[in-house]
């Protein structure tokens, strides 16, 4: 087991710089999830850690050993690929043993490890089959098995669940989480699915365009997103963003949001007059709240445990509102909606988070 340190890591293809000055400390035994929209560089970063891509700038260290020039096989890590990358011409047993045999491990030890992995992943009946005779979930297990037998210091996962159907994905997610609990090895997991990130991670790294937007626990990211991008990326259904114009009135900031009555803001210590106020769909209420407005329901989505209302404000902006359980509303209806100031996230003109002065601490609502 080992932690991982990235110092000023950069990546460029010729003149094209896709990643620059990345710093990150991954703790020993941590389940770190790299998340971000496609093209944000999360897979590239993982492949740089794996040794499949050159590191053009900075250093990557596993434990306290810089591995920049170490080939992938010497980094004592294993990787699970999106396509599983099982060797099609080898049986499951051979797929598991192949790497160990390459490292000239004694035969008895290879057999012990393969049997152990097969038992953990419950793939013992499949050992004689070829990959093409396996279902998606079984292939996934074998791919994970191939990673475990190495007993690596570091596990890398590159979107391992994205080829599975929804039901299997949820199941494998739980299995991966329990595998992590059992092995306790450092894991780095790339996904574009924020639900996977939220449910499995000890910490999440949100990446965009080769830069780290925020690093934190799932709860930190959800309750205190550091910028608009993270606010919009983490959380499902998506957070509502309201453009606000702020002016001083009697020494206190007052916000005007289209569709709402003007309301006083807590002290945000900013001079920006154009802010973005974000409120989670669950923090918008029907008919109550410190700030009240009216809207017309465009769409009602009943999800069983909650109902999503798409509500058009007077300004034309559609906000999402989630109600627990079934809701007696239908499209076309006009309803009063409102929110409390404590539930708002404030962002300045550049999209950076603003912390309101006490007493209006937004995270108080989640404490």
């Amino acid at each position: 087991m080992a932690g991982l340190t990235l110092r000023n890591v950069g990546k460029s293809y010729g003149a094209l710089q896709i990643m620059q000055g990345l710093n990150l400390d991954i703790h020993d035994g941590e389940f770190l999830v790299l998340v971000g929209p496609s093209g944000c560089g999360k897979s590239t970063l993982l492949r740089m850690i794996a040794g499949l891509e050159d590191i053009t700038d900075g250093t990557v260290a596993i434990g306290d050993k810089v591995v920049n020039d170490l080939p992938a096989s010497k980094r004592e890590l294993s990787m699970v690929f999106q396509s599983y990358a099982l060797y099609p011409h080898m049986t499951v047993a051979k797929n598991l043993a192949f790497g160990l045999q390459n490292f000239r491990m004694p035969k008895a030890e290879v057999e012990r490890r393969v049997a152990e992995a097969a038992r953990i992943l419950q793939i013992e009946p499949l050992m004689a089959r070829k990959p093409r005779q396996l279902s998606g979930g079984q292939k996934q297990r074998v791919a994970i098995g191939r990673a475990i037998v190495r007993e690596p210091k570091l596990f890398l996962f590159d979107e391992p669940l994205s080829n599975l159907d929804a039901e299997l994905r949820v199941q494998m997610r739980a299995e991966l989480a329990s595998l992590y609990a059992r092995l306790g090895t450092t894991m780095i997991y790339v996904t574009h699915d924020q639900v996977e990130a939220m449910t499995m991670a000890s910490r999440i790294v949100v990446l965009r365009a080769g830069k780290i937007e925020q690093v934190g626990t799932p709860q930190e990211l959800y309750t205190r997103p550091q910028n608009l991008f993270v606010a919009g990326f983490i959380g499902s259904p998506k957070i509502n963003m309201l453009a606000a114009e702020v002016r001083a009135e009697g020494g206190r900031p007052v916000a005007r949001v289209a569709g709402f009555a003007d309301f006083a803001l807590p002290d945000l210590s900013t001079r920006d007059t154009r802010l973005t106020l974000c409120v989670r769909p669950g923090a918008l209420h029907v008919g109550e709240g410190e700030v009240i407005s009216e809207g017309t329901i465009r769409l009602v989505e009943y999800l069983g445990n909650e109902t999503l209302l798409h509500v058009a404000l007077a300004s034309g902006q559609v906000v999402l509102l989630s109600v627990v359980g079934p809701a007696p509303y239908r499209a076309g209806q006009t309803i009063p909606i409102g929110f409390d100031l404590a539930d708002l996230h404030y962002f300045d003109a550049e999209g950076r988070r603003l912390e309101p002065a006490l007493p209006a601490q937004p995270q108080a609502a989640f404490a």
């Binding site: 492949r47 690929f81 099609p88 192949f98 080829n163």
Partner: protein
């Protein structure tokens, strides 16, 4: 019109349609059989000529021989100063070595072009593709001079050694195209599993490329087995002749026409090609069946 009547009419229409379809199919098959016959006619002619008495070969258009001259085969085998056993062994040596050489060296070169990163890769690939366009006859004389200086003339070396040096561009190209289709993640998984580039080639890429290898093996076998020009140039001693060279000896014998025997030996010379094709064609099919990645 009653329901029964309607059913009867519908049934009749159905019968007519089926009949029309059947006639269409018959016509199509008749046409295809006719075309196939035209294409296969030379082969039939060869087969029939190999079994005919000498005077019937060019005198009788009937494909069916009046008497079956099986001794064309038995006598033909020993008609030349050396028996055909010698020629077959010679051909087999040259062909087998050439096929092995082609498969090894071309797949090696192709793997480098398809998978390894090195300076000038695209340039060398383009250069190699250009050699595909040079006709053999252009390099014939310089090559001959070269091999003469090496003292390789009248040995099998000029026929075999170049095959071990990836000289058949077409096969390299074929394999490059095939290797490029293999998912790169397999290479990467193998890299993490501790494989060197050579091990990836040997343990991952080659076993997954059986269809391409089969195709290259078949073509290579056919081309080398049937090759007449290169053996003609480099082999002087009749003891080292390959089968195509030997077949030509039947015509060299002045006055003595032995067409029946020549055709008989020609028919036999096709047998290894057919056997090889049948064997390796299975490999191609099996390769396709195992290459399902996901």
């Amino acid at each position: 019109m009653g329901l029964d009547e309607a059913t009867r009419i519908a049934h009749e229409f159905k019968l007519r349609r089926l009949k029309r379809e059947r006639n269409g199919r018959l016509l199509k098959h008749a046409f295809l059989i006719g075309v196939s016959f035209i294409m296969l006619y030379p082969l039939f002619w060869l087969l029939s000529a190999s079994l005919k008495p000498e005077n019937e070969i060019f005198g009788n258009v009937d494909l069916w021989p009046s008497v079956f001259m099986v001794e064309n085969y038995t006598k033909g085998w020993h008609a030349l100063p050396e028996s055909f056993t010698v020629f077959y062994v010679n051909s087999a040596i040259v062909t087998v070595l050439s096929v092995i050489g082609n498969l090894l060296s071309c797949s090696f070169a192709a793997y480098a072009f398809a998978r390894l990163r090195f300076t000038g890769r695209n340039f060398f690939f383009a250069l190699m593709m250009m050699t595909l366009m040079i006709p053999y006859h252009v390099v014939l004389i310089p090559q001959y001079v070269q091999f003469l200086q090496l003292g390789w003339v009248d040995t099998y070396l000029p026929l075999v050694v170049p095959r071990f040096l990836a000289s058949d561009t077409f096969f390299i190209f074929l394999m490059v195209q095939f290797f490029r289709q293999l998912p790169r993640e397999l290479d990467e998984a193998a890299m993490i599993d501790g494989c060197s580039p050579f091990k990836i080639y040997w343990a991952i890429v080659l076993p997954l490329s059986l269809p391409a290898m089969g195709t290259a093996a078949i073509f290579s076998f056919i081309w080398v087995w049937e090759d007449f020009l290169a053996p003609l140039i480099y082999l002087n001693d009749i003891k080292s002749y390959t089968v195509p060279l030997a077949l030509r000896l039947f015509l060299d014998q002045d006055g003595q026409s032995a067409y029946g025997q020549m055709f008989a030996m020609s028919v036999l010379s096709l047998v290894p090609v057919v056997i090889f094709f049948v064997l390796f064609q299975k490999l191609i099919v099996r390769g396709i069946a195992t290459s399902g990645m996901k």
